[in-house]
Every structure is written in C-alpha cells, then in structure tokens.
Amino acid sequence: MSVFIDKNTTVIVQGITGRDGSFHTRQMIEYGTRVVAGVTPGKGGQKFDDKVPIFNTVAEAAKETGANTSVIYVPPMYAADAMMEAADAGVTLVVAITEGVPVLDMTRVYPFVKERGARLLGPNCPGLISSGKSKVGIIPGRICTPGPVGVVSRSGTLTYEIVYQLTRAGIGQTTCVGIGGDPINGTNFIDCLTAFEQDPETKAVAMMGEIGGTDEQEAARFVQDHMTKPVVGFIAGQTAPPGRRMGHAGAIISGSAGTAAEKIQAFEDAGMGVARRPIDFVELIKARL
C-alpha cells in the first residue's frame, strides 16, 4: 500500500508543454506514472511526445480521460486559477509544484478546493512519490526504494537528502510527500500523518519540518494523541535569524514564534524521536522498525 497515489493514479499535467512541465512529464512517465492527459490552452488536439493527448481545459481532459489527479507546472501568477480549475473539473488530488504563488491568492484557492472535496498538495512543493508505483511531481525516482517508512516534509532537496540516506542504509519508503514551503498550503503534516497511520504497510514515519508557523507543534500533539506508529522528526532552521524569510515563503520566525527550539521541544514533549542531524534518521528509524 501507499498513501494518496498508487498504480491506479491517472494524471493530468497542467502546463505540459512548458519547460518544467515537459521535462517532468517525461520523468514521471519513465517512472511508471500513468500520465493520461496534458492541458495547454490553445494546443488542444495535439499530442505530447506523440503519446499524451493535450486538451484546452482541465474539464475536457478530466471528462475524456477520467483522470483522478492533476499536477500543476504553470507560472506563479496563473497557478491559483489552475488549482481552482483542476478542483472544479472534479479531480480528487491537485498537486501544485509552482513556487512563488502570491499568498493572498491561496486564501481564495484553499476554501474553493475544499468545498469541491479535492485534496490540494502544495503549492511550492516537490509533489509525492509512492516507491515503485507512481510519482506525481519532481522527486527524483532513483533515490527511492519500496519499504516501510512514510516520509513527509516541508522541503524539497532536504527530503531527497534524507530519503537518499535511508535508501543507502537499506530502509525503503511507502510514500514520500512534500507538503511545500509556503505559509498557506493545501495539505499539512496532520493530513499526512493520518494517512500514514491508516496505511497498513507504513510502519514508521520520518517527518521534516522547518521554522515558521505552528504546523509541527500541532503535528506533535497529533502524534501523541492519535498515532500508534513511531514518528521521527527533524527541524531545519536552528541557525536562522528572526524576521527573515529563509528561501521558503513560510520559513520565517515571526517575533518570537515559530522557532526551531519550540518545535523540537514539542517533538520531545510528544515522545517522538528527534533527529539532530539529517544522518540521525537512519539509526532512529532503524531502532523503531
């Protein structure tokens, strides 16, 4: 098993003919993802790489192919509309890779998508991968291997680093989910922890948070109250100065809130394993499997 996506996931790519969209569509297909349609307004009727049919709208693509998932690689100023278009077309999972989406746009997107019963992942996220089954987004497939660990993270390359170290140590993953680095995102840690708790094949969870907000603190309380599976956490940004946006729009210590110290404390209070260094995940997870 896996969470959110598996062999049966059928994917529409919004922005399939763009630079990033086309590159990652090929990578997804190579990994085995069932990419069934692309959307680029004005290019409806054409085919991507002579294989994937392109439509003008997501509604049309969803109707013709029955796809249940959409992944978005459109520029930031159009991304909010793309997310709402996907949810309105009836797909149940919308994965927004785009970085730089204005946060105020997300205050409209979030309730719109929720009201239509879709799950939004991102924006500003690497997407997700269920090892050996399907990947939606940009996580490099070769670093993953099937196994018992669920991975959830706010970052991209840091996730790759830790997944790579787990794989090197012979510890595989059910699903790796990047929830993204923006202050308002569709799926949070608790959503992913809930899914991993319910997934029979996931035996332990590795969770990578960072400074800013309180998502990790709430996740820690959830682990304590609702999880039977062990969770190991890490927080990036212990050396970050307050008030500065550390690359990710959401990675900012506001006043005295959202520091690494308070998040690590919350993990400890919840009885979670705490990785001080990325490499610590290997031993901490091993000990809990």
């Binding site: 204005p102 205050t107 790579y164 940004g237 550390m246 690359g247 260094r277």
Partner: protein, 381 residues
C-alpha cells in the same frame, strides 16, 4: 519586502486613512522646511527597517523649525541596529488622548487575513497578546467576501464604546483592509491609532510588509524597495536571482534548496562552526549563478572556508561544477573550498572538478565537518 513608515503612510492616505501631515527629508534643511510648513511641534522619525527606533534615539520631538533641523542632523546618519538612517519623517506631533492597535496579518493557521485590534496600543502587540490576551480581538476575514461592514463595526466597538469613534475606527478598518489587499501585504498595521483630545481618530504610525511573491504583478509596490536600506551583498544576490541572507559566521554556504540550505547551516553550527550566510542557488541552476554566488561569498572577509552542498535533482551537478571552475579561474580562491555533490550527472561533475584540481565529496556530514575544521584553523579530516 518591508517598506518605510512614510511609504506605508502615503499608501494609507491614498485609501483615506486620516494621518497627521508630514513629509520625508534626506537633509536637515529639508526637515526644517517641512516643520515650517506644518507650523506646530513635530516628531522627527528615523526611516529604517528596524523596530525599537524610539529606544535607539531615532524618534524625537522638535518644537521649532530650527530645533527640527538640529535634531534631523543628529538622527540622519545615525546607526540603528546596524542600519544607517538615510531619511527622516517629519510629522505633526498630534496630541493624544488614547492609543489603540489595529493590524491585519496573513494568518497561517486560519489560512486567512486576520484583523487584530486592541485598545492597549502604542506598545508591542506580542507583549499584549502574551500578558493580557483578553485585550485583543481577532477576526479572520474570508477574502472572497472581504471585510464586511458588520465586522468592521464589531472591531470598532471593541476599541471604542462611543459610537462616533467606533464608526470612525470601522471606516479606518475598511480602508486598512483595502490597502492590505491592494498592496499584496502579509502585514499592515497602525500602531498607534489615536484619539486626539478633540475626538478625532488618526493613525500615527504605520507599517506594511509585502509578500515578495506579489512583486511581479505589482510594479508600483515593487518600486518602493529602498535598496540603500538593505545589506549590499543581499541586493547583489537578488539581482543575480539568488536567495541570500548574510550572517556573521566563518563558513560560507552554497546550497540548492531552502530546506537543505538551512539544514546545512545547522550542521555547520552542530560541528562547532558558524554559518556566514544562507544561500539557495535554486532549482534550475546554471553555471552563471554559481559564479555570482562565489563572488558574493568571497567578498565577505569573515569567510574562512566555503562549503558547497548540492543534491542534484533538477539541479545538474555538472552545471555547478562548471560554475565553480569558471568562477575560480576568474577570481582564484583565497580560502579553502569543500565541495559535496551527489545526484544528477554526478560522474561528469566529479570528472570536471578533478581535472581542474578540486576534490569532491559525496557525504554531507563529512563535508560539513571538513569545512568547519578548515574554517576554524584545524587540519582537514
């Protein structure tokens, strides 16, 4: 992006918020002229992106135009939290009967802008929230409907039991909300909102922070950026499309991805070093970005060792290797460099580096330890 108080006030004035007259000056003479126009006691306020200006001596009353010139002369050029004051705001010193706080912030938990208002204004709102939370009203706003009149009235009455003042305040709430939305703000606050002895409600200080993601579609707001008020190396980095934050340590860090960049800095600290910076070269790297990154980092005299930590996904490690070779040919390095790279095109990258006399590591932990040792004068591991 932060903008100055005088810029925030100009924006709010444009939306109708009552603000005492004032103008910005870069010289003592200009300050004197503004004071003469106002013709009353004025406040001279340092315009820097730092809190605690008053405590630092950057806010002073002046009774006459001559005194304004003298005080402006003292404040201009002053250092506040490492920032040089280049401009002062000279504004009418309104008489104050009471002070309140009004702010709109983008709240992550509710995923909405939230109004925060408190009759206990003029002081740090975080302190009020911690000590007397009952003195704060929080109201999340659904941006699909905007701030509704009844909501604005609720906020107004929370501040002032008197209906006239509550109405005046609710009008200001609406104006503040409109300004918040139009400037793509993540924070817009008036602190203090005052009532004058004759009952007028006015904004005496204003602060607006803009979501950087909005700047592409709001060129007029983007033009408010004051680069002279920023760290020069950060300005240079932004022009090269790099995300860079200067710190005080001795290990210069070049990393791809924000999370990995933070984790790398933390690991430098873990092993006894101090990171000199945060630097994310981003996803689709090209050699040119690496050249700019090295230029910025090597210009910092505190940097005693440079650490590259690259996990190639979208980023091609051979691009990074080519960038390192080009940059060091242009400007030979004076400090040791530790290069860790793994992932996309790793074999090509290692070949490029070895042929040019560099060595490459594959393990993040080992690379960080080595860089720290080199920076602190120890021998490489």
């Amino acid at each position: 992006m932060n903008i100055h108080e005088y810029q925030a006030k100009d924006i709010l004035r444009g939306y109708g918020v009552p603000i005492p007259p004032g103008d910005v000056a870069s010289t003592p003479q200009e300050a004197e002229q503004i004071a003469r126009r106002i013709g009353r006691t004025v406040v001279v306020k340092a315009q820097v992106h730092a809190g605690g200006r008053g405590k630092a001596g950057g806010v002073k009353l002046a009774k006459t135009p001559e005194e304004t010139r003298e005080i402006a002369g003292r404040i201009l050029g002053m250092q506040i939290k490492g920032l040089t004051v280049q401009k002062v705001l000279v504004t009418d010193a309104a008489d104050i009967a009471s002070e309140a706080y009004v702010g709109v912030i983008l709240d992550r938990a509710s995923k909405k802008p939230v109004f925060m208002v408190s009759p206990a204004g003029g002081i740090d709102i975080e302190e009020v929230a911690a000590k007397t939370p009952e003195k704060i009203m929080r109201m999340p706003i659904d941006t699909r409907y905007g701030l509704m009149p009844f909501q604005a009235m609720e906020l107004g009455f929370f501040l002032y039991p008197d209906a006239t003042k509550a109405r005046a305040a609710s009008k200001i709430m609406k104006q503040l909300y409109d300004a918040f939305m139009a400037t793509g703000a993540s924070l817009a606050e008036i602190n203090p909102l005052v009532v004058t002895p004759n009952g007028d409600v006015m904004a005496l200080d204003a602060k607006i922070s803009v979501d950087d993601n909005e700047l592409d579609r709001l060129p007029k707001i983007a033009a408010l950026r004051d680069e002279s008020a920023e760290e020069p190396s950060e300005v240079q980095a932004r022009h090269a499309n790099l995300t860079f934050i200067k710190l005080d340590g001795n290990v210069g860090c070049v990393v791809n991805g924000a999370g990995l960049a933070m984790a790398t800095m933390d690991l430098v600290k873990f092993y006894g070093g101090e990171p000199a910076n945060f630097l994310d070269i981003g996803g689709s790297s090209n050699p040119e970005k690496v050249v700019s990154a090295l230029k910025i980092i090597t210009a910092d005299p505190n940097v005693k060792a440079i650490l590259f930590n690259i996990f190639g996904g979208i980023t091609r490690t051979d691009d990074v290797a080519n960038g390192i070779v080009t940059a060091t040919k242009q400007n030979p390095l004076k400090v040791p460099i530790v290069i860790r790279l793994t992932g996309t095109n790793e074999e090509i990258a290692v070949k490029i580096l070895t042929e040019n006399g560099f060595s490459a590591m594959t393990d993040m932990d080992e690379a960080v330890q080595r860089a720290v040792k080199l920076a602190t004068g120890g021998q490489p591991a």
